[in-house]
Protein backbone atom coordinates (compact mmCIF):
# COMPACT_ATOMS: atom_id res chain seq x y z
CA UNK A 1 0.00 0.00 0.00
CA UNK A 2 1.35 3.43 -0.93
CA UNK A 3 0.79 6.57 1.05
CA UNK A 4 1.73 10.22 0.70
CA UNK A 5 4.11 11.90 3.14
CA UNK A 6 4.37 15.68 2.86
CA UNK A 7 7.58 17.34 4.01
CA UNK A 8 7.02 21.05 4.40
CA UNK A 9 6.33 23.79 3.74
CA UNK A 10 7.22 24.13 7.42
CA UNK A 11 9.30 21.27 8.72
CA UNK A 12 12.23 20.93 11.16
CA UNK A 13 14.46 19.71 8.33
CA UNK A 14 13.82 22.73 6.13
CA UNK A 15 15.63 25.99 6.65
CA UNK A 16 13.10 27.81 4.48
CA UNK A 17 9.63 26.91 3.25
CA UNK A 18 9.12 24.50 0.37
CA UNK A 19 7.21 21.28 0.04
CA UNK A 20 8.25 17.80 -0.97
CA UNK A 21 5.29 15.47 -1.44
CA UNK A 22 6.59 11.92 -1.32
CA UNK A 23 4.75 8.75 -2.29
CA UNK A 24 6.05 5.92 -0.13
CA UNK A 25 5.88 2.14 -0.30
CA UNK A 26 6.59 1.24 3.29
CA UNK A 27 9.69 3.24 4.21
CA UNK A 28 10.84 3.61 0.60
CA UNK A 29 10.13 6.68 -1.51
CA UNK A 30 8.67 5.68 -4.88
CA UNK A 31 7.82 9.13 -6.26
CA UNK A 32 8.05 12.75 -5.23
CA UNK A 33 6.78 16.17 -6.27
CA UNK A 34 8.20 19.54 -5.37
CA UNK A 35 6.33 22.72 -4.60
CA UNK A 36 8.03 26.10 -4.28
CA UNK A 37 6.73 29.66 -4.26
CA UNK A 38 6.19 30.12 -0.55
CA UNK A 39 8.68 33.00 -0.60
CA UNK A 40 7.70 34.55 -3.95
CA UNK A 41 8.30 38.28 -3.58
CA UNK A 42 8.22 39.49 -7.20
CA UNK A 43 11.70 40.99 -6.89
CA UNK A 44 12.32 40.91 -10.65
CA UNK A 45 9.17 42.93 -11.14
CA UNK A 46 10.10 45.30 -8.30
CA UNK A 47 13.53 45.88 -9.86
CA UNK A 48 11.83 47.65 -12.74
CA UNK A 49 10.80 50.40 -10.32
CA UNK A 50 14.29 50.98 -8.91
CA UNK A 51 17.06 53.18 -10.29
CA UNK A 52 20.62 52.00 -10.88
CA UNK A 53 21.64 52.59 -7.25
CA UNK A 54 18.48 51.24 -5.63
CA UNK A 55 18.40 48.13 -7.79
CA UNK A 56 21.77 47.01 -6.36
CA UNK A 57 20.44 47.28 -2.81
CA UNK A 58 17.28 45.43 -3.85
CA UNK A 59 19.03 42.53 -5.58
CA UNK A 60 21.39 42.15 -2.63
CA UNK A 61 18.31 41.00 -0.73
CA UNK A 62 17.45 38.16 -3.09
CA UNK A 63 19.54 35.89 -0.87
CA UNK A 64 20.79 36.17 2.69
CA UNK A 65 23.77 33.85 2.21
CA UNK A 66 25.16 34.84 -1.20
CA UNK A 67 24.03 38.46 -1.18
CA UNK A 68 27.39 39.64 -2.54
CA UNK A 69 27.17 37.30 -5.50
CA UNK A 70 23.89 38.84 -6.59
CA UNK A 71 25.25 42.39 -6.57
CA UNK A 72 28.45 41.24 -8.25
CA UNK A 73 26.55 39.58 -11.09
CA UNK A 74 24.19 42.53 -11.43
CA UNK A 75 27.03 45.07 -11.44
CA UNK A 76 28.97 43.07 -14.00
CA UNK A 77 25.92 43.10 -16.28
CA UNK A 78 25.39 46.84 -15.75
CA UNK A 79 29.08 47.48 -16.44
CA UNK A 80 28.61 45.90 -19.85
CA UNK A 81 25.79 48.36 -20.51
CA UNK A 82 27.80 51.37 -19.30
CA UNK A 83 31.17 50.40 -20.76
CA UNK A 84 32.88 50.66 -17.37
CA UNK A 85 35.70 48.30 -16.43
CA UNK A 86 36.55 47.94 -12.74
CA UNK A 87 40.17 48.70 -11.82
CA UNK A 88 42.47 45.77 -10.92
CA UNK A 89 42.27 46.32 -7.16
CA UNK A 90 38.47 46.27 -7.29
CA UNK A 91 38.57 42.97 -9.18
CA UNK A 92 40.79 41.46 -6.49
CA UNK A 93 38.52 42.75 -3.73
CA UNK A 94 35.56 41.19 -5.53
CA UNK A 95 37.40 37.85 -5.56
CA UNK A 96 38.19 38.13 -1.83
CA UNK A 97 34.58 38.87 -0.86
CA UNK A 98 33.22 36.18 -3.18
CA UNK A 99 35.55 33.55 -1.70
CA UNK A 100 34.84 34.63 1.89
CA UNK A 101 31.17 34.27 1.05
CA UNK A 102 31.82 30.80 -0.39
CA UNK A 103 33.65 29.81 2.81
CA UNK A 104 30.84 31.15 4.96
CA UNK A 105 28.22 29.37 2.83
CA UNK A 106 30.02 26.01 2.69
CA UNK A 107 30.83 25.99 6.43
CA UNK A 108 27.23 26.92 7.19
CA UNK A 109 26.06 24.05 4.99
CA UNK A 110 28.45 21.63 6.67
CA UNK A 111 26.96 22.61 10.01
CA UNK A 112 23.39 22.11 8.82
CA UNK A 113 24.29 18.78 7.22
CA UNK A 114 25.92 17.70 10.48
CA UNK A 115 22.77 18.66 12.38
CA UNK A 116 20.63 16.59 10.01
CA UNK A 117 22.97 13.65 10.48
CA UNK A 118 22.39 13.92 14.21
CA UNK A 119 25.93 15.19 14.72
CA UNK A 120 25.22 18.22 16.91
CA UNK A 121 28.81 18.66 18.12
CA UNK A 122 29.99 19.15 14.55
CA UNK A 123 27.16 21.61 13.98
CA UNK A 124 28.54 23.76 16.81
CA UNK A 125 32.10 23.49 15.50
CA UNK A 126 31.08 24.52 11.98
CA UNK A 127 29.07 27.48 13.21
CA UNK A 128 32.00 28.62 15.33
CA UNK A 129 34.20 28.58 12.21
CA UNK A 130 31.52 30.32 10.19
CA UNK A 131 31.41 33.03 12.81
CA UNK A 132 35.11 33.69 12.26
CA UNK A 133 34.51 34.19 8.54
CA UNK A 134 31.59 36.49 9.22
CA UNK A 135 33.74 38.52 11.61
CA UNK A 136 36.15 39.13 8.74
CA UNK A 137 33.34 40.11 6.38
CA UNK A 138 32.05 42.47 9.05
CA UNK A 139 35.51 43.94 9.57
CA UNK A 140 35.80 44.65 5.84
CA UNK A 141 32.29 45.83 5.06
CA UNK A 142 30.71 46.77 8.39
CA UNK A 143 27.94 44.25 7.76
CA UNK A 144 27.37 40.59 8.51
CA UNK A 145 24.86 39.75 5.78
CA UNK A 146 24.41 42.39 3.11
CA UNK A 147 27.92 43.70 2.56
CA UNK A 148 27.14 46.49 0.05
CA UNK A 149 30.56 46.02 -1.50
CA UNK A 150 29.75 46.24 -5.20
CA UNK A 151 28.95 49.26 -7.31
CA UNK A 152 28.93 49.88 -11.03
CA UNK A 153 32.58 50.16 -12.04
CA UNK A 154 34.16 48.79 -8.88
CA UNK A 155 33.68 48.40 -5.16
CA UNK A 156 32.52 50.67 -2.36
CA UNK A 157 35.13 49.80 0.26
CA UNK A 158 38.79 48.98 0.37
CA UNK A 159 40.58 46.17 2.18
CA UNK A 160 43.12 48.37 3.86
CA UNK A 161 45.46 45.69 5.16
CA UNK A 162 45.01 42.54 3.04
CA UNK A 163 47.95 40.75 4.67
CA UNK A 164 46.20 40.92 8.04
CA UNK A 165 43.52 38.61 6.64
CA UNK A 166 46.01 35.95 5.60
CA UNK A 167 46.41 34.89 9.22
CA UNK A 168 42.63 34.33 9.43
CA UNK A 169 42.70 32.23 6.27
CA UNK A 170 45.57 30.14 7.68
CA UNK A 171 43.77 29.62 10.99
CA UNK A 172 40.52 28.67 9.27
CA UNK A 173 42.25 26.25 6.94
CA UNK A 174 44.05 24.66 9.87
CA UNK A 175 40.79 24.13 11.74
CA UNK A 176 39.12 22.69 8.65
CA UNK A 177 41.99 20.28 8.04
CA UNK A 178 42.30 19.33 11.70
CA UNK A 179 38.63 18.97 12.68
CA UNK A 180 35.86 19.38 10.18
CA UNK A 181 37.05 17.66 7.03
CA UNK A 182 38.45 14.49 8.66
CA UNK A 183 35.36 13.99 10.80
CA UNK A 184 32.84 14.69 8.05
CA UNK A 185 34.66 12.55 5.49
CA UNK A 186 35.97 9.63 7.53
CA UNK A 187 33.80 9.18 10.63
CA UNK A 188 31.51 6.19 10.61
CA UNK A 189 28.52 8.41 11.54
CA UNK A 190 28.95 10.65 8.52
CA UNK A 191 29.81 7.79 6.20
CA UNK A 192 26.79 5.69 7.20
CA UNK A 193 24.45 8.63 6.66
CA UNK A 194 25.97 9.88 3.38
CA UNK A 195 27.62 7.13 1.35
CA UNK A 196 25.41 5.76 -1.43
CA UNK A 197 22.50 7.98 -0.34
CA UNK A 198 20.59 10.33 -2.66
CA UNK A 199 22.45 9.44 -5.83
CA UNK A 200 22.18 11.73 -8.85
CA UNK A 201 23.74 9.93 -11.78
CA UNK A 202 26.06 11.69 -14.22
CA UNK A 203 23.49 11.32 -17.01
CA UNK A 204 20.68 12.74 -14.89
CA UNK A 205 22.89 15.60 -13.72
CA UNK A 206 23.46 16.57 -17.35
CA UNK A 207 19.82 16.22 -18.40
CA UNK A 208 18.65 18.26 -15.38
CA UNK A 209 21.30 20.90 -16.09
CA UNK A 210 22.38 21.02 -12.46
CA UNK A 211 25.16 23.41 -11.49
CA UNK A 212 27.78 24.03 -8.82
CA UNK A 213 28.83 21.44 -6.23
CA UNK A 214 25.79 19.29 -7.09
CA UNK A 215 27.01 18.95 -10.69
CA UNK A 216 30.64 18.51 -9.69
CA UNK A 217 29.67 15.74 -7.24
CA UNK A 218 28.09 13.88 -10.17
CA UNK A 219 31.21 14.10 -12.31
CA UNK A 220 30.31 17.25 -14.27
CA UNK A 221 33.43 19.38 -14.01
CA UNK A 222 32.01 22.81 -14.71
CA UNK A 223 33.01 25.94 -12.80
CA UNK A 224 32.58 29.42 -14.25
CA UNK A 225 35.62 30.69 -12.35
CA UNK A 226 37.60 28.43 -14.68
CA UNK A 227 35.40 28.15 -17.79
CA UNK A 228 34.39 31.82 -18.10
CA UNK A 229 36.60 33.76 -15.65
CA UNK A 230 35.33 37.06 -14.26
CA UNK A 231 36.79 39.59 -11.77
CA UNK A 232 40.42 38.44 -11.22
CA UNK A 233 39.87 34.68 -11.35
CA UNK A 234 41.94 34.34 -14.51
CA UNK A 235 44.97 35.29 -12.37
CA UNK A 236 44.27 32.70 -9.67
CA UNK A 237 45.67 29.20 -9.51
CA UNK A 238 43.18 26.67 -8.16
CA UNK A 239 41.68 23.25 -8.78
CA UNK A 240 38.05 22.39 -9.48
CA UNK A 241 37.18 19.40 -7.26
CA UNK A 242 35.09 16.78 -9.03
CA UNK A 243 33.72 13.54 -7.56
CA UNK A 244 32.09 10.81 -9.65
CA UNK A 245 29.74 9.09 -7.20
CA UNK A 246 26.82 11.54 -7.18
CA UNK A 247 25.76 10.73 -3.62
CA UNK A 248 25.47 12.91 -0.52
CA UNK A 249 29.02 12.02 0.48
CA UNK A 250 30.34 13.19 -2.89
CA UNK A 251 28.57 16.54 -2.42
CA UNK A 252 30.06 16.79 1.04
CA UNK A 253 33.55 15.97 -0.29
CA UNK A 254 33.28 18.50 -3.12
CA UNK A 255 32.33 21.28 -0.72
CA UNK A 256 35.07 20.28 1.74
CA UNK A 257 37.67 20.40 -1.03
CA UNK A 258 36.24 23.69 -2.29
CA UNK A 259 36.81 25.19 1.17
CA UNK A 260 40.48 24.32 0.77
CA UNK A 261 40.57 25.79 -2.74
CA UNK A 262 38.84 28.94 -1.50
CA UNK A 263 41.56 29.34 1.13
CA UNK A 264 44.14 28.93 -1.64
CA UNK A 265 42.44 31.58 -3.80
CA UNK A 266 42.06 33.94 -0.84
CA UNK A 267 45.74 33.66 0.02
CA UNK A 268 46.70 34.50 -3.58
CA UNK A 269 44.25 37.38 -3.89
CA UNK A 270 45.32 38.92 -0.59
CA UNK A 271 49.06 38.64 -1.22
CA UNK A 272 48.95 39.75 -4.86
CA UNK A 273 46.37 42.52 -4.48
CA UNK A 274 47.55 45.46 -6.60
CA UNK A 275 47.44 49.03 -5.36
CA UNK A 276 45.19 51.52 -7.08
CA UNK A 277 41.70 52.91 -7.41
CA UNK A 278 38.56 51.19 -6.16
CA UNK A 279 36.30 52.21 -9.01
CA UNK A 280 36.15 53.87 -12.39
CA UNK A 281 33.68 56.26 -13.86
CA UNK A 282 33.61 58.68 -10.92
CA UNK A 283 29.87 58.19 -10.77
CA UNK A 284 29.43 59.52 -14.30
CA UNK A 285 28.24 57.09 -16.93
CA UNK A 286 25.42 56.48 -19.35
CA UNK A 287 23.55 53.32 -20.07
CA UNK A 288 23.25 52.22 -23.67
CA UNK A 289 20.04 50.65 -24.93
CA UNK A 290 20.37 46.89 -24.84
CA UNK A 291 20.53 43.73 -22.84
CA UNK A 292 23.58 42.40 -21.03
CA UNK A 293 24.11 39.08 -19.37
CA UNK A 294 26.52 38.14 -16.63
CA UNK A 295 27.29 34.86 -14.90
CA UNK A 296 29.09 34.15 -11.66
CA UNK A 297 29.96 30.94 -9.80
CA UNK A 298 28.09 31.35 -6.52
CA UNK A 299 28.65 28.93 -3.60
CA UNK A 300 25.68 26.89 -4.83
CA UNK A 301 26.50 27.15 -8.53
CA UNK A 302 25.95 29.40 -11.50
CA UNK A 303 23.99 32.63 -11.05
CA UNK A 304 22.96 34.42 -14.22
CA UNK A 305 21.54 37.92 -14.59
CA UNK A 306 20.04 39.35 -17.76
CA UNK A 307 19.61 43.11 -17.47
CA UNK A 308 17.82 45.22 -20.06
CA UNK A 309 18.06 49.01 -20.13
CA UNK A 310 16.97 51.86 -22.38
CA UNK A 311 19.25 54.85 -22.87
CA UNK A 312 18.42 57.77 -20.54
CA UNK A 313 16.04 55.59 -18.52
CA UNK A 314 16.28 55.76 -14.74
CA UNK A 315 15.22 52.17 -14.16
CA UNK A 316 16.03 48.87 -15.83
CA UNK A 317 13.33 47.65 -18.17
CA UNK A 318 13.96 44.06 -17.11
CA UNK A 319 16.10 42.16 -14.62
CA UNK A 320 15.98 38.39 -14.84
CA UNK A 321 17.70 36.27 -12.21
CA UNK A 322 18.48 32.60 -12.76
CA UNK A 323 19.67 31.18 -9.46
CA UNK A 324 21.45 27.84 -8.90
CA UNK A 325 18.79 26.32 -6.65
CA UNK A 326 16.17 26.97 -9.34
CA UNK A 327 17.93 24.38 -11.54
CA UNK A 328 19.27 22.12 -8.79
CA UNK A 329 15.96 21.76 -6.97
CA UNK A 330 14.09 19.63 -9.55
CA UNK A 331 16.86 17.01 -9.34
CA UNK A 332 15.88 16.30 -5.70
CA UNK A 333 12.97 14.32 -7.09
CA UNK A 334 15.44 11.84 -8.64
CA UNK A 335 17.70 11.83 -5.59
CA UNK A 336 14.94 10.67 -3.26
CA UNK A 337 13.61 7.91 -5.52
CA UNK A 338 14.28 4.60 -3.79
CA UNK A 339 15.62 6.34 -0.69
CA UNK A 340 14.54 5.61 2.85
CA UNK A 341 12.15 8.19 4.19
CA UNK A 342 14.50 8.94 7.09
CA UNK A 343 17.23 9.96 4.65
CA UNK A 344 15.17 12.48 2.70
CA UNK A 345 15.82 15.51 4.95
CA UNK A 346 19.57 15.09 4.47
CA UNK A 347 19.18 14.38 0.74
CA UNK A 348 17.23 17.56 0.09
CA UNK A 349 19.72 19.50 2.21
CA UNK A 350 22.64 18.06 0.27
CA UNK A 351 21.98 20.38 -2.67
CA UNK A 352 22.36 23.30 -0.22
CA UNK A 353 19.00 24.69 -1.31
CA UNK A 354 18.08 28.35 -1.08
CA UNK A 355 14.37 28.91 -1.51
CA UNK A 356 14.74 32.62 -1.01
CA UNK A 357 16.86 32.69 -4.19
CA UNK A 358 14.57 30.26 -5.97
CA UNK A 359 11.37 32.16 -5.33
CA UNK A 360 12.85 35.65 -5.73
Amino acid sequence: MSYKIPMGPYHPALEEPYKLDMICEGETVSDAKLHIGFNFRGIEHLAETRNYIQVIALMERVCGICSNIHTLTLCQAMEKLTGLTPPPRAKYIRVVIAELERLHSHVLWAGIAAKLMGFKTMFMTCFELREQVMDVLQAISGNRVNYSMNRIGGVNRDIEDPMALVAMVDALEKEMVRKVIPILTTSSTARSRCAGIGVLTHEKAISCGVVGPVARASGVGQDLRRAAPYAAYDEMDFEVPVQPDGDVRARLLVRALEIMESCKILRQALTKMPAGELNTGDGKFNFITGTATSRVEAPRGEVMYSVSWREHARNPSRVHVRTPTFVNMPSVRYMVLGARLADTPLIQASIDPCYSCTDR
Binding site: G37, N51, Q222, L224, T293, E302, H320
Partner: protein, 151 residues
Protein backbone atom coordinates in the same frame (compact mmCIF):
# COMPACT_ATOMS: atom_id res chain seq x y z
CA UNK B 1 20.90 25.45 -43.18
CA UNK B 2 20.15 23.95 -39.79
CA UNK B 3 21.21 25.42 -36.47
CA UNK B 4 23.49 22.46 -35.94
CA UNK B 5 25.37 23.25 -39.14
CA UNK B 6 25.64 26.92 -38.23
CA UNK B 7 27.27 26.52 -34.81
CA UNK B 8 30.72 25.29 -35.90
CA UNK B 9 31.01 28.41 -38.05
CA UNK B 10 30.94 30.62 -35.01
CA UNK B 11 34.56 31.67 -35.39
CA UNK B 12 34.53 32.18 -39.16
CA UNK B 13 34.64 35.70 -40.61
CA UNK B 14 31.16 35.34 -42.05
CA UNK B 15 29.86 33.92 -38.83
CA UNK B 16 26.12 34.22 -38.19
CA UNK B 17 27.00 34.67 -34.50
CA UNK B 18 27.52 38.08 -32.96
CA UNK B 19 28.86 38.74 -29.49
CA UNK B 20 26.88 41.31 -27.55
CA UNK B 21 26.42 41.87 -23.83
CA UNK B 22 28.39 38.74 -22.96
CA UNK B 23 26.31 36.43 -25.19
CA UNK B 24 26.94 34.91 -28.61
CA UNK B 25 23.68 35.51 -30.44
CA UNK B 26 22.66 33.56 -33.50
CA UNK B 27 21.38 36.01 -36.09
CA UNK B 28 19.20 33.67 -38.04
CA UNK B 29 15.68 34.83 -38.69
CA UNK B 30 13.96 31.51 -39.24
CA UNK B 31 14.85 29.68 -36.05
CA UNK B 32 12.69 26.94 -34.65
CA UNK B 33 12.97 26.44 -30.92
CA UNK B 34 12.75 22.66 -31.04
CA UNK B 35 15.37 22.53 -33.77
CA UNK B 36 17.63 24.69 -31.62
CA UNK B 37 17.05 22.42 -28.60
CA UNK B 38 17.89 19.34 -30.67
CA UNK B 39 21.04 21.01 -31.97
CA UNK B 40 22.11 22.01 -28.49
CA UNK B 41 21.52 18.46 -27.23
CA UNK B 42 23.65 17.10 -30.08
CA UNK B 43 26.43 19.47 -29.08
CA UNK B 44 26.04 18.47 -25.40
CA UNK B 45 25.37 22.09 -24.51
CA UNK B 46 23.99 22.84 -21.05
CA UNK B 47 20.60 24.55 -20.94
CA UNK B 48 20.66 27.59 -18.68
CA UNK B 49 17.40 29.48 -18.82
CA UNK B 50 14.79 31.37 -20.80
CA UNK B 51 14.32 35.07 -20.21
CA UNK B 52 10.99 36.64 -21.12
CA UNK B 53 10.64 40.30 -22.06
CA UNK B 54 7.37 42.17 -22.33
CA UNK B 55 7.62 44.33 -25.46
CA UNK B 56 5.87 47.68 -25.73
CA UNK B 57 2.14 47.75 -26.54
CA UNK B 58 1.06 45.26 -29.20
CA UNK B 59 4.50 43.92 -30.06
CA UNK B 60 4.06 40.87 -27.86
CA UNK B 61 6.83 39.11 -26.02
CA UNK B 62 10.45 38.21 -26.66
CA UNK B 63 11.96 35.01 -25.32
CA UNK B 64 15.71 34.57 -25.07
CA UNK B 65 16.93 30.99 -24.71
CA UNK B 66 20.42 30.44 -23.30
CA UNK B 67 22.75 27.46 -23.49
CA UNK B 68 26.36 27.05 -22.40
CA UNK B 69 29.09 25.27 -24.33
CA UNK B 70 32.39 25.07 -22.42
CA UNK B 71 31.87 28.43 -20.76
CA UNK B 72 30.62 30.17 -23.90
CA UNK B 73 27.11 31.56 -23.52
CA UNK B 74 24.87 31.12 -26.56
CA UNK B 75 21.63 33.03 -27.08
CA UNK B 76 18.62 32.50 -29.35
CA UNK B 77 15.84 35.05 -29.65
CA UNK B 78 12.20 34.29 -30.42
CA UNK B 79 9.60 37.01 -30.76
CA UNK B 80 6.08 35.89 -29.98
CA UNK B 81 3.16 37.73 -31.45
CA UNK B 82 0.63 35.13 -30.33
CA UNK B 83 1.98 34.38 -26.83
CA UNK B 84 2.56 30.81 -27.86
CA UNK B 85 5.66 28.76 -28.60
CA UNK B 86 6.45 25.06 -28.72
CA UNK B 87 7.66 23.53 -25.48
CA UNK B 88 11.13 21.97 -25.36
CA UNK B 89 10.46 20.21 -22.07
CA UNK B 90 10.41 16.78 -23.70
CA UNK B 91 13.79 17.49 -25.36
CA UNK B 92 15.35 19.36 -22.47
CA UNK B 93 14.22 18.39 -19.00
CA UNK B 94 16.02 21.38 -17.48
CA UNK B 95 13.56 23.73 -19.20
CA UNK B 96 10.61 22.46 -17.15
CA UNK B 97 10.52 24.96 -14.31
CA UNK B 98 11.40 28.04 -16.34
CA UNK B 99 8.67 27.23 -18.87
CA UNK B 100 6.21 26.90 -16.01
CA UNK B 101 7.43 30.14 -14.44
CA UNK B 102 7.09 32.09 -17.69
CA UNK B 103 3.67 30.57 -18.25
CA UNK B 104 2.58 31.70 -14.80
CA UNK B 105 4.14 35.16 -14.98
CA UNK B 106 3.75 36.14 -18.64
CA UNK B 107 0.88 33.90 -19.78
CA UNK B 108 2.99 32.33 -22.51
CA UNK B 109 1.57 29.03 -23.69
CA UNK B 110 4.28 26.44 -24.25
CA UNK B 111 2.43 24.06 -26.53
CA UNK B 112 2.78 20.31 -26.31
CA UNK B 113 3.19 20.03 -22.58
CA UNK B 114 1.00 19.58 -19.54
CA UNK B 115 1.28 22.09 -16.72
CA UNK B 116 1.38 20.87 -13.19
CA UNK B 117 -0.20 23.00 -10.44
CA UNK B 118 1.23 26.46 -9.94
CA UNK B 119 4.96 26.58 -9.37
CA UNK B 120 5.46 30.02 -7.86
CA UNK B 121 2.21 31.82 -7.21
CA UNK B 122 -0.76 30.97 -5.08
CA UNK B 123 -4.30 30.97 -6.48
CA UNK B 124 -5.92 28.93 -9.22
CA UNK B 125 -5.25 30.99 -12.37
CA UNK B 126 -2.51 29.34 -14.40
CA UNK B 127 -1.37 31.63 -17.19
CA UNK B 128 -1.53 35.26 -16.08
CA UNK B 129 0.54 38.20 -17.27
CA UNK B 130 1.55 39.76 -13.97
CA UNK B 131 2.81 42.89 -15.71
CA UNK B 132 -0.64 43.57 -17.14
CA UNK B 133 -2.30 42.94 -13.80
CA UNK B 134 0.15 45.03 -11.79
CA UNK B 135 2.15 47.38 -13.98
CA UNK B 136 4.91 49.16 -12.04
CA UNK B 137 4.29 52.88 -12.33
CA UNK B 138 7.49 54.84 -12.99
CA UNK B 139 7.81 57.63 -10.43
CA UNK B 140 7.52 61.22 -11.52
CA UNK B 141 10.73 63.03 -12.39
CA UNK B 142 12.48 64.47 -9.36
CA UNK B 143 10.66 62.27 -6.89
CA UNK B 144 13.60 59.98 -6.22
CA UNK B 145 13.98 59.07 -2.59
CA UNK B 146 11.38 58.80 0.11
CA UNK B 147 8.44 58.00 -2.13
CA UNK B 148 10.20 55.10 -3.83
CA UNK B 149 11.68 53.72 -0.64
CA UNK B 150 8.24 53.82 0.94
CA UNK B 151 6.63 51.75 -1.83
Amino acid sequence: MTTLELIPEATAETSPWTEEGGVFWLNYSDLNVREVANAMNALQARFITVTAYQLPKEEGLRLEYHWDIDGRLLGFVFTLASKSIESIYDLCEAADWIEREIHEGFAVDFTGRVYEPLLLRSGDMMGVNLREICSPEPPAAGSVGKEEVAK
